[in-house]
Structures are given as C-alpha cells and as structure tokens.
Symmetry: D2
Subunit: 354 residues, 4 copies
C-alpha cells in the first residue's frame, strides 16, 4: 500500500500519466509556518530537467495545497497536496502493455493487479511518485527543524566514482546548508566532473548508471526510537525501501562493520561539554533501535535507472513468447543526484514518526 | 515497541534476567499441525552452547506453549509461548548500572526509559530476546511451507572470510535442507575451519568478530507485496532491523548493483516451462516492492558482538566522569552462526505479512 | 486522525471553506468497473438542497477522480477523489473565531490545535467532510456487492416519530433497492408527513431535531471478523463514531436486549435449506465479534444539528468572559435523512475491512 | 484479532480451559510504581465467586507478571502477565463440540476457524479472557491517575431495575472511591435488593438477565482525541465492543439525545473559576471526537449471560439436523456487576491511547 505512518501518516496517490499525483499528510502539528521557498527548492532538486544529467521530460511539479494550511500556517488537519501531470503523452508507452520492461515493475504490477494496473509511464510505480514524497518530507523537515534536527545528503558514489564520506562525529551546519542548495550535492566538488562524465558516457551508450546516497541527520536528541520492531532503523528502512530503485540500506559503518573487531566497532562513550558523546560512530547514531544523540548516518544503494534505450530481452505476455523490446525516447541515464532529496525526505518522514 | 505486524501480529516480551521471555503470535491460520522437532531444531540453532563457537552461558530455551495450539494443531487464536529464564545471576552485571557498555543499548535504553529500564544482561535489549522471535518465525515458516515457500541461510562471511554465495537463479531443495540442519551453515564447508580460526583468534584476544548472513526464500509466488511503503523490501526490513546487531540490509546484488550499468542490472524476462522467469536476479526477487517469483535473496550485516572482555572507555552516568570498564565473564566472540536462524525467522515473519 | 483502515485504508482531507475536500482510498481490489450513476446517486442523497428538509447552502459535490481508476475500472492503486468547494463565503462565520458555537467542535478543535485550526464553517470538523466518506463508502459498496453484500438504511426515527424497524430475520432485496433510491428513506412511508412536520416545526422555531438511522447489511457470509478488538462490532463502531453527530450505536436488539432474559435473547439455531440460520436475531448478525450470516442490524443515534439560529450562551475565548452568540444564516434543521447514506457508507468501509 | 492499540498496545491470549491466559501490554511509560493491592482489588471485582450473584466456578486469577516490571516499578518494556487456569474440567463441555450453544460464539468461531478453534468453555471467546483485560486496564488506570484521570462505573440497570445515573456535570471523588471498592457498585444502594431479587429469580428459572453499565472518567483534560476516525468515541468503542456481551454503547445523553431539540442538546459554554465548562453535558465530554474537559460519560449494554440451563434449540453440525441441548452445570445468571470493572478497564485502555 501507499499509506504509512503512525504519529504522522502519509498516503500517496497518482499515476505517471493520470491527471495528477499527490499526497495526504496527516498528523503534522499545528502552527508551523511553511517555508514555501525551501519546499519548492526541494521539489526542484527532485524534478528532472533542472540538471544537465536529468531526463528530458519536463515536469512542472507545482504543488497545489488543498487543505491543512491556512494563511501559510499548518492547522493540524490533514495536508493534501496535488501536483498536476502536464506532459502525459501516453503514446510513448504503447508497446509495453504486453511486453514488460526489464528492471521495471511492469511485470510485478501485472501479477499483483491481475493486469488492471495503469502501465502508462510506470503508472503508480513511476519514479514520478517521489514528487509527493518530497513534498511531504519537506513539510516534515520543517517541523523537525523547529526541534533542532537538520538533514542533508550527498552523492556518495556514481558507479565507481566516490565522493568523500560524511565525518560521522561532526557535520558542520555550513556543509549541510551548502548541500541543501544543490541539485548535484557533493562534499568534494572536485569529483563532479568525473561523475558527470561517467553519466554522459552511459547516456551515449543508451545505458544508465546507479550510485549511493549518503544521508545524515544532526541535532537528533538521544533516546528516540524503541527496541525491536519500532526501532529507528526499522522505521527509517520501512520508508526508505519505498523509494523506487533502493536495493540496500546501511547505517554507520554498515556492511564494513562486519570486517571490524568488537574492540573497534564498539563506540566508546565520553563526556564532552557535559554531554555524553561517542568518540567513533560506527553505529550511525543508533544503538538498540534508539538514537544515541550522535549524527544518524545512512547510505542507500540506488540501482541504475531501469529505463534504457538499448534492445532488451523480455516476454510477450499475450503471445506467451520470448521477444525483445526497445523503449523509445530519451531517458535519464542517472537518477542518483535527483534521489538525494528523496532520501532526505524519506528520512524526515521516518524521524517525525519516532 | 516490541509489537509488529498486520496480517500476523507479533508481540515479544521479557528481559534477559527476568523470570521469563516469550511471544504472542496472533493471526496464524487454524489447522496447522506444528512440527515440534523442526521448531526445537530452530530454537537449538539459535541457542548458545550448541556450537563450539558459542557463549558459555547455558540456556535451556524450552518453549512452553500456553495458548492457540490444541493437540498440536493451531486453533487460529493467539499463540503464546513462554521461555523460562533459568540462569540469571544478576551479580555478573552489577557494575554496568552506572557505566554503559560501549556498543550495547545500555546508554540509549537509559535515555529512552529515564533510567527505569532493566539493565541486567541487557534487559529487553538482550540478544536472548531473539529466542521468542525464532519460535514465532518457526511457526510462520511452517505455515509458509504449506504454501510452497522454503527459507534458508548461510554464513556469507565472518570478518573477511567468505563462503560461496547463493546462486540467485536456482537454489536446490537439497541445499536448503542441508543448511536448515546446521548450527554453522555454509554452502562451501571448506571455509569452516578458516572462519572458526578467525573466531577463536578473536576469543583469545578477548575480542569479537561480525559477519554477514545471506538468506533466501524460494517457492515465492509472483505478485506479493505492494508499491511504496508496504513493499516486500519495506516489510522485510522493518522486521530485520529488529534483530539486534543488524546494521545493513541489501537485496539481490545490493550495494554492488550501484557499480553495474542498467543494461546489466535489468533482469531480462523469458518464458521457461510456461512460466515467466528472469535470466539474472540482481533485484533479488523483488521489483517495485512486489515479488517476481524468483528467489528472494538478501544479506544482513551483523556487527561484531558488543560483549568483549577488553577494557573499554565509557562514562559514569552517576559521577558524570569519563572512566573505563571491563565486563567480566566469558563472552560469545561471534554470534553470526547463531544469527542465521534468527534472520530466517525474521524473513518468515515478514513474508507471512505480505 | 482522519486516516483509518487495514485491508482498505482511507485518508480524508479538507476543510469546509478551503479550496477542496477529498479522500484517498487505498487497497480497493483491481478490476471493478465503477457504477458512476450509483455513486452520484449516493453523493446526491447526502448533499444538502436535494430534499425539502435540507440546508439551503448549495453544494455541487462533483467528485473528481484523480487516480486509481482507468477507463472506469479500478486499477488497484490508491483512488483519490477531490471535491471542489464552490460556495465558501467566509463572512458568515466571522464571529465564531472567538466565540465557540455550543454543540460544535469549535472549542474542542481550538484546544486540540492550539487555536491554529481552520474554524470557518467548522473547518475539518464540518459535516461536509462526510461527502468524501460517502464517495469512499460507495466504492467499497460496489466492491462488496460483487461478493453478494447489500446495504440499506432508513430513518428509524426523527425526534419521537418512528418508522417501522427492519425485520431482522429477512430483508427483501426489493426493500433494499427502494431505500437505496431515496433521499428520505422510510420503510413505512406513511410516517413521512409527521416526520417532516416535526422538522418544519423545529425550523420555524430556529431549532433543530435529531433521530436514529437503522442500517442493515444482507448477504454477509458467516465467519467474518475476529474475537476481541478486531471484531465486526469494533471495526464498525470505529468508523461509525467518525460520522459527526453520532452519539450512540447498538447492534441487534441493542439496549433493549438488557431487558430480556437469556432464554429470549439467545438466538436459537436451525437448519433452513441446508444452511444454519437463527430463528431470532437479537445479536444483529454478530456474535463474539464474528458474523453469523444473518443480516447485520445496527442503529446509530444522530444528535440534533448543532447549527441553530437561536441565541445561545457561550464564552469569548479572547476576553475570557461569558457571552451569547447568534449564528446567522439559514440552517438545516435535521440532518437525519442525509445521514442515512453516510451511515451506509461507514458500514461499507467497515465491512470491507473485516 | 486480539491485539490492539497505538501508543499503548495490548495483545491478549489464552483459552478458558488451556493452561493459562494472559496479556502483553506494550508502551506503558517507565517509572510507574504499581499498586498491586488496587490491581488485585480490580481483578477480584471481575472474578466470579466473590459476590453472591456470581458463577460458582472458582477462578484464582492470580496475575503472574513475567516482564516489564522491576522491583514493582514499570521499566518501559512490554509487561507480560500470565494467569494460570486452575479449574479446567473439560468434561463439562463435551456435548457442545457438535451442538453450538445459542448466544455463544461456538458457531461463529467454528465458521471463522474452520472448526479448529478450542471450544472448551468458549475457548478464546470465553468471558474469562476479560481477566487479562482487567489486568491491563488496571495498569493503564494507574498511569492515567498520575495525570489526574479517575474512572468509575456503576450498575445503571439490571433488566428493568435502574440505579440513579451519574450527575454528568460533577462527580465527587468520594463517590468514585466508593464505587471503585465495590463488587456490586451502585450510586443508590437502595436498589441493590431489588436488583438481586431479579437476578435470583432468573437463577431459579435457570435463566439469566442483562443490564447496563454506566462509566465515567473525570479529570480528563480538554483537547484529547482527533476528528473522524481516531476520535475519542471511536477509540473507546473499538475497545468496548471487545468486551464480550456488549451490544450497545452511547455517550452523554446517547440515544435519548435524538429526542431533544438542538436548543436543549447543545451544551452551552461558560467560564467557571477561569476554566471553560459546559452547563449541561449531553455530549458526554466529547465533541467532534475531542474531549471537552467535562466528565466522559458512557453506557454499555450488556446482554443476558448466554449460559443458561434451560433446554434450547440448536443444530448438530455433524448430523446437520435440528436438535436441542441442555448445558449442564450451574451458571452465573448475571454478569453485569462483574462487567463494571471490565468496562472501566476498557475505558482506561482507550484513554491512554488518545
């Protein structure tokens, strides 16, 4: 289902080529003056066409708030935001009704919905559905910011090209602010050219590349979360895997922690300015499902864009024969940069539910 | 919270050194004859002391079913299982009340519960609480088996020593059955000695090591799950991160998929014996949150056991000073082998909720 | 919160005088061809101005389906319906910002939302929010109808004037069809004049009256529901009390059962045409939280419309003084007839979640 | 399902004639010193045999707390309480396996669980399962008491014999304390003899009687609850109908409010000692799903005990013939007095979830 949450509930709707997509966000506290500039900046970071590396399809992505906000201030009632679909030529997708595109949800959606799902542009499975998620996450972020939380992310890698990682102990507000402005956020901007050339090279060969987003939250107070099933990692992951293309998630040292010894991976405690901190942060700010007060650090693996222009092997579900298909049109060869704000939004939605 | 689930709900209770631990499992369908031998085999695979590499503390872990089962058959009513704690010398942990152990949830529990949490042996955060999870998961597995699902796992790595991975396309029933019997499950048993010597070496230096569990489910029919927040990966991850020590989770090619091109990562479809299959399985049996019918493949990163006997830096929460501590007693230097059945159980609990 | 449900989830949004109200309905099965005529008939039965007894404010209530339906058939994706607000003169309510109207949620909303709630026309608490509930319930009804369920209701009473009750053992399809067409549904239409004169008399004295809706579901198969907290009565009541103005709910003989003896209230079983039935239905088709297969019978008490034109005592929340207020404008003196389809819709939403 | 809740989750398990019944209560805040005397007093008020009017079966009902409480103080971890079944002669119920008892859940349980449900003594549907609910509700009450909430109830009626109602505006602490001590709680104790003679008369004719429990909560602060589906009435009702035998529920003036005019039913506001109060309380302390700060008043209809000793008509599910049955043994002819503390417990569980 496309509904989730406990303290703050989200319900996302819409299809890529339907009249509109949108979201209902229920449980946001009253009295928050929304910063629409920041919200539109976030929407813009996700939208294609804002960056050289993005898909050529133009999407306006103008959020239309129907409820829950009065004179720019949240009322406590559910917030509904609708985003009109403006560029919905269904003809582009005519051939995929019987031939599922590899890597896409065409086939699984067909099996799940007995063939009744709207398959145009991926329908409800389209990456376009991350637009309402960014809207919702941006509202949550603004609520969290009032409590001192800050969230940022950067492109940790594109294919094999890596950025510098976050310092897990201390992340400057100035870095967070810089990253929050960027549609291609990097800690070490010197790697941008190399990343872009890997993407351009994929584009030229009608292929695509993936990458990793590293995301952090600072200002998180200690003691949020729960043991077992409502732990911070559980809640974060249950939103994060809702972002299409995410195939892996790790916290702190993540998979690399398995190569450490306990004497290294255990984060020692010390007092610093009267506050308990850890001198390393291999646990990524979460132990036993509960926040330690150190930065939350996570990395999400984004698979290469499923949309490519090369010929691919598939089946014809009507003739029940093996066949091939070529998906026409120009495709975004790398969604990793656009995914950064989506991952931040998913983290915000999770944190407001702890 | 320690309660979770939708179609089948679980509620786990107990503390390491309290009178008992246990679980209520609500929603299991009626009419399933429980295979108690298999269930006890699973409990045994998790229990310490069954394997050379395990913790010396002996735990009987005998499940006492109080409800929901009549003459060995499920009734449809909630199944409550209580496991008595038999070896609960609180004295061992006397010094940790004021000095949180690094890597453990002592400090985060203290912050979450204002110091009222039972800290003896880790209390409700203890790895011992995975025993009721294995009980519950084993019941779910038996229900799933009636639908054709099979679940297995192996030790993918201990520290830097690696087993062979699962073949993601085809996993033999005979391999599954062999792994299901083992307390130290390996696809390539030739690596056992090297793994055990890494563990023994950690033990001798009063240290610990971690590793990775790779887990699969076969016989999963296509079309299970949902887009966005109730996708198969979301549901699996929201249980999996409830297993203490899990710091990362990936599906299919996981983080490595980020280094592929789309032309490689997209799993092509073909008909095989009248059934749609994919010729690779980089997506780990799940696309768009919905099962493809191919094996579900996941890997969970298990951090090194937090319990080590070396001196560690910490704080004294009462004197508010930096200090050190040594946790006496013998500790399990590697829980990875015991974690295998816990990961399988978590997967079963998730799959029955799709 | 305005979100609810398990198998089928609903999220209602909007305020009386905002740009639009609406609903997201997630979990409706794919492949249902929506009968828009029936749906609009239901919307019309709820809308004011369609009946002589209704409020003079005209509401178009035209549902605009944004998602989840393709070529008139459900796709399985979330269905979002938006209903524009066309007649939203805020001036009418200028004086209530500081003076809460007795019987309305102005004061409780103020306390719940720290004064940030949109108070114009009752905001999110407005009876107008039952329009999206009727939309959602109508979709659920059509899905249920394919399983053989039929739902109907009638005006059991207005003030002290009573209609005949449903025969709890057997309810004709022809009666159900007749009631489903009516904006003032009665079993015994001879009482209509007396009911209308009670309403008109209230209107003339600038007052209002309440009443009782009796609602039934037939074709319900035995065995739906659960013991304890997810029983049929629990699920039904947890939607039903979301209908504004409902202050009581009873099943079967309801409060009158407390005056029976067990030998009378126990519904005896017998075989009839090879099927188990009961020869009385004091339990209203539900025993132990589970359906018996007999008609579900319930009655909901609808309090008199809170909107009246008489002078009333209240407080001024700004000056913190006792005062009076007169709410100008013409008001609907009785919403009971319009509530019938709302109660039916709530029942449908509940039943689809069993 | 027998699991419920959001902020505080409950999971009830057990069968009447199984080894034990019990409950897991997850989410109770840490640091509450449990008053075991008060808790056992509540358990005793529910237990049969404590009062002249009760069932002759003796139940020890000694709660054994397995987790979540350390040295008498809640830890924040899930609280599990197990109550052993001591008097479980299955022989008494031998004949009901094929002949469902009218008024009981034997038949609906059979249909729901395909005949696999434990039918001895009603199994999981037994009224005995209210014992763990009283345990859980008593813990919730103690948590609520620290916030100023007080809960009490009385026998509003037995059959046609009525007690005085609560004054909905003001309920003395001394009355609450008196009622809290009683196993046959009445505001006007002069009606006790008449009520008891009605019960005794039913007993002599091997029959049973029902009645109404009126329950109140005082000290409830204004602003708790939500519009629509998580309103106070919704949450209360979704627990209350989990109490076996409840067939109706009303708040404030309840069904009688339908016979008022709006000018009477609207509760006028005034300032009293600087606080907003209402001068009547026809809404029972809840408007728009949100508490007003006035006492919450509700009444629950309890049907006559289904267990009677008279011969009754039923079916034989094996031979598929109409037949009769006589349920041997002595039965409690009226559970209304014992239901009072159950209703109070259900209210406590609901209120802690607002």
């Amino acid at each position: 289902m496309s509904s989730w949450g406990n303290k703050v509930k989200i319900s996302i709707f819409g299809e890529s080529h339907g009249p509109a997509i949108g979201v209902v966000l229920d449980g946001i506290e009253p009295g928050i003056r929304l910063d629409m500039d920041e919200l539109l900046l976030n929407m813009g970071r996700r939208a294609p066409g804002k960056d050289k590396a993005a898909t050529p399809r133009k999407e306006a992505d103008m959020p239309n708030i129907l409820s829950g906000v009065l004179d720019g201030v949240t009322t406590g009632a559910p917030i509904c935001c609708v985003i009109e679909n403006t560029n919905t030529r269904s003809g582009d997708y005519g051939n995929i009704l019987s031939k599922p595109r590899p890597g896409h949800a065409d086939y699984t959606g067909f099996m799940r919905y007995n063939g009744f799902n709207d398959i145009r542009g991926g329908g409800h499975f389209s990456g376009r559905l991350t637009a309402p998620l960014v809207f919702a996450g941006s509202v949550c972020r603004q609520a969290l910011k009032l409590q001192g939380f800050k969230i940022a992310s950067h492109i940790y890698s594109v294919n094999t090209v890596q950025d510098k990682p976050f310092d897990p102990i201390s992340i400057d507000d100035s870095l967070i602010e810089r990253l929050n402005q960027k549609s291609f956020p990097l800690i070490d901007e010197a790697v941008e050219n190399e990343m872009r050339s890997v993407i351009e090279s994929a584009r030229l060969s009608q292929d695509s590349v993936g990458g990793i987003i590293e995301c952090c939250a600072t200002g998180v107070k200690a003691g949020l979360g729960s043991p077992m099933f409502e732990g911070a990692e559980n809640v974060i992951s249950s939103v994060m895997f809702g972002v299409p293309a995410v195939k892996g998630l790790e916290f702190g040292a993540g998979f690399d922690i398995t190569k450490m010894h306990g004497s290294q991976s255990n984060d020692p405690f010390k007092y610093e300015n009267g506050k308990v901190v850890t001198t390393s942060n291999n646990n990524g700010g979460i132990i036993g499902g509960i926040t330690t007060g150190m930065p939350i650090i996570l990395r999400a693996a984004i698979k290469p864009t499923a949309s490519i222009s090369q010929q691919q092997s598939t089946v014809d579900l009507q003739t029940k024969e093996n066949t091939t298909l070529v998906v026409k049109g120009r495709h975004d060869p790398c969604i990793v940069s656009r995914a950064s704000v989506v991952i931040e939004s998913a983290l915000a939605l999770a944190l407001i539910n702890l």
